[in-house]
């Protein structure tokens, strides 16, 4: 009997996934447990295995397609078995986009205005209506526009330089990966729903720098703890002391969390990924640093498990390596706190009436004003700074 290969649900919130790669060709034999395709959700990439031994049937979804959980993308067939009939409605392809793309003009959302006839012909001829510019009344995409696009595609597949988008010449159009799309969705959500405010504070890292140099010299295993790990540890401790900010706004209530799960922003080839270090407040420095490093590596490899990308209660983002000093970060919803860590750099400061050179790190901390007010946020901001300047409590 033909056994369907379905898009698995890999976590409660997962509803769809993008098909990234097919690993086996139609007609090839597969073994139970063998990876047949890679999919990507808004969290991470996953591998989907063959459900049983047999021969792989035809592919029912193409690479790049976004599919709903449960969608059948193919079958494993027994020897000599025919391909089953297509399910009514075909594979449950998700809406091609989460929503209409924002127009560059005025930020208004735009939907494709195309005549019913243009839609029908576009579907028949495989023309993407969204990239067309309508020549009909009020910019309506008409049959003529679709035909022209179809002809252009036939005549010169690489004629994309002739393509225009809102009056601009287009070099190429890059479909967004699941991670990038999810990021776009989440930041839009955060930016438009959470009232942000940012507090900036400079932390004098002299003590930490001295400690790190000391650990390096003595071969202390804590030498592997980086600046960012200290910030994660300081934030975790500060949030334990001020649990009201380890929280999220939920319509008519604040949800205060019982553990501190710190998301750590990681730049990956597929875009920004934020793996979550669970129970950060319970971890010793070295353990915390090791876990953070492992998460970052897995993130870059696209190998994070579902639990490793969900459940964050606050986030740390660090662009110090780029020499960035401060920023106005965007929260990672539903979290209420995000610490943007700038470069640790030597600056001249006034100290007891005289100029002095000290290693300083500027923290730009974004808060959700529905969860924090200026004073409660300031207490957290100040406490994170104190813990970085006087890190003894973190060393215990």
């Amino acid at each position: 009997m033909a056994t369907p290969i379905r898009i698995p649900r890999l976590g409660q919130s997962m509803t769809e996934a993008q098909l990234v790669t097919w690993h086996a060709a139609p007609g090839s034999s597969v073994r139970s447990g063998e990876t047949v395709l890679t999919i990507e959700t808004d969290k991470a990439q996953y591998e989907v295995e063959a459900p049983c031994d047999g021969r792989l049937g035809v592919r029912r979804a193409a690479v790049g397609t976004t599919l709903r959980v449960g969608a059948v993308v193919g079958h494993v067939l027994e020897a000599g078995e025919a391909e089953p009939a297509l399910e009514l409605g075909g594979p449950a392809v998700a809406d091609p986009r989460p929503g209409p793309p924002p127009s560059p003009e005025g930020g208004q959302r735009r939907r494709v205005r195309a005549s019913p006839r243009a839609r029908r012909i576009a579907e028949e001829r495989g023309v993407d209506l969204e990239i067309l510019r309508g020549s009909g009344p009020d910019g309506l995409v008409t049959e003529r526009d679709v035909e022209a696009a179809a002809q252009a595609e036939l005549a010169a597949p690489a004629a994309s330089d002739a393509e225009r988008w809102h009056g601009r010449r287009v070099r190429e159009r890059l479909p967004l990966s699941g991670v990038r799309l999810a990021g776009a969705r989440r930041t839009s959500e955060a930016w438009t729903t959470a009232p942000h405010f940012v507090q900036m504070v400079d932390a004098d890292m002299s003590r930490l720098r001295a400690l790190r140099e000391e650990w390096k010299r003595t071969g202390d295993p804590r030498a592997a703890v980086g600046w960012n790990d200290f910030v994660v540890a300081a934030l975790a401790r500060a949030l334990v002391e001020q649990p009201a900010l380890n929280a999220a706004f939920d319509g008519d209530a604040l949800v205060v969390f019982d553990e501190v799960n710190v998301g750590i922003a990681v730049d990956t080839p597929r875009g920004l990924v934020v793996p979550v270090l669970r129970g950060a407040e319970r971890k010793a420095l070295t353990e915390l640093a090791r876990a953070a490093r492992e998460l970052a590596e897995k993130a870059r490899a696209g190998a994070l498990g579902h639990d490793e990308v969900t459940g964050g209660t606050a986030t740390v983002s660090n662009l110090g390596a780029f020499g960035i000093r401060a920023g106005t970060p965007v929260l990672n919803p539903p979290e209420a706190v995000l610490v943007f860590v700038g470069a640790v750099e030597e600056r001249v400061i006034a100290l007891a009436g005289a100029p002095a050179v000290r290693p300083l790190c500027t923290l730009s901390i974004a808060y959700d004003h529905r969860v924090a007010d200026g004073a409660s946020a300031a207490r957290l901001t100040r406490r994170v700074r104190e813990l970085l300047e006087e890190p003894t409590p973190l060393l215990a």
Partner: protein
Amino acid sequence: MSTREISYGQAIREALAQEMRRDPRVILFGEDVALYGGIFGQLAGLRDEFGDERVFDTPISENLIVGAAVGAASRGLRPVAELQFADFVFCAADEVFFKAGMWRYVHDGAFELPLVIRAPSGGYGFGPEHSQCPEAFLMHQPGIRIALPSTPADAKGLLAAAIRSNDPVVVLEHKLLYARKGPVPEGEHVEPLGRAVVRRQGDALTIVAWQDMLWRTLEAAARLAGEGIEVEVVDPRCLNPFDAETLLASVRKTGACLVVEEAYRTLGVGAEIGALLMERAFGDLDRPLRRLAIPDVPVPTAPHLVDALVPNVDAIVRAARELAG
């Protein structure tokens, strides 16, 4: 069959004479139809030929004119009743809509009602109660066939068919067309009811128009052709039965439709055509439906005010250009 040029009004007279000679059950009555020969002169001589029993004047009694036609039709005559102006369908609304429209149905087919109501519509300078084109009102009512001859040949052929029909038929004669001449077959000429005709072929756009609006549309079409825009012009000829297939075939070809009508815009024939296209040609529509119609105000008396309201050739050209462009 040989044809010769006669006017629309003469064609109507020919149809009546043709059918009255053919069938003694056909009678003709209304206001000023006998001695005067119709206020537009289109009935001249009929009383002399067929006598007072079959061609007679009535009092100013529109309920009576239509009601008697229904009663006489239910008893075996084939009356042709004239309402002197099409607006008067509302004076005789009970008899037009309820009796002609429903008498057969209410009595489960106990009667056939082979009657014709002739009524001149449209025109200039007659005032708000003598200038209307009530076809949409009639089209809304079940039970009434509606013919809208636009050419002299159709005036003869459709009226003859209406007289031979076993159902009530309202034939709206457009006042501005009575004097228009055109080729008309000499002998017996009957055009079946419910068949539209494509008056001009094209693929840029379908324009639906009838009667005076048809002639304006054809003039606009000639102008558009000079600009390289070839529009297709569909003359429905009847609204009930309505030849949807001819219209749909045209719109499937052109992907766009403009309706030009000499009546109020809201819920006009154009609205019904728009709904039909949405239901049956959605995937073929490449442009939104456009309607040119009287913008929901009564038809005034002063001709230059009428001109400000009724779609003209320029407006048709403009709308067609926008749609086809």
